[in-house]
Symmetry: C2
Subunit: 105 residues, 2 copies
DNA sequence: CGTAATACATCATATCACGAAGTATTGCGT
DNA sequence: ACGCAATACTTCGTGATATGATGTATTACG
């Protein structure tokens, strides 16, 4: 997919992957893979950004000798998802403008 | 609208605004305004990029003592619009993942 | 006569996705 | 026993890009 197009979905997609319950980086990548592929460096950057924006909380725990950072979606994170639904409506009006009546198609 | 979300639409929206016949910068901004607002510096940057990518052709002509640059969409530009339609399908699958089943909503 | 509108250009800045490379552990195949 | 893939997260540099600020120049209007 076009990178620019992807950009608008990355943040909300990560939030969506976590919203049903605690998750962690590696798991999120695997869960999102069928929908949207992203590199590890991208995901961890996004997780840090969302945490900084108060949309995620983190706790670190050990699992099989490896450290994992478990993320949870906050109210603000859920508000972001709700906001996204509204923004998508605007996206759809733009989409219709872009694809409408292409040579009588 | 969220800037990141907007990014994926800017290029194709400009192409769409020109596809029905020659247009020029100032006109494009006004035509797109109801759908997507963008600053002049952004538009002229995009026009230059699309021209560089062979998706637009330009001719300069004088109109009422002012110079105007008239743009036309090339075959490659139209191919980009067709490609966008396909990419949008992928966008929709991601969208459904993001908005699905939000607390039984 | 000044101000808005038309029309385009340039520059500096901030955001951001990503590849590359690194650290460290577990588990599996041969 | 040894090596390699998988798990798990981090840091750094780079390139793409949207935008505000600023500039130039003309026309139209009150």
């Amino acid at each position: 997919m076009d990178i620019q197009l992807k950009r608008g979905l990355l943040d909300v997609c990560v939030l969506a992957a976590i919203r049903d319950g605690e998750s962690y980086g590696y798991q999120i990548i695997k869960e999102m893979k069928p929908y949207l592929e992203m590199s590890e460096s991208t995901l961890y950057t996004i997780l840090k950004r969302l945490e900084g924006a108060g949309m995620l909380t983190v706790r670190t725990a050990e699992h099989d000798g490896r450290l994992r950072k478990y993320y949870n979606v906050t109210d603000r994170g859920r508000a972001r998802l709700a906001e996204f639904r509204e923004e998508w409506k605007e996206m759809m009006t733009v989409y219709r403008f872009v694809v409408r009546e292409e040579n009588g198609k």
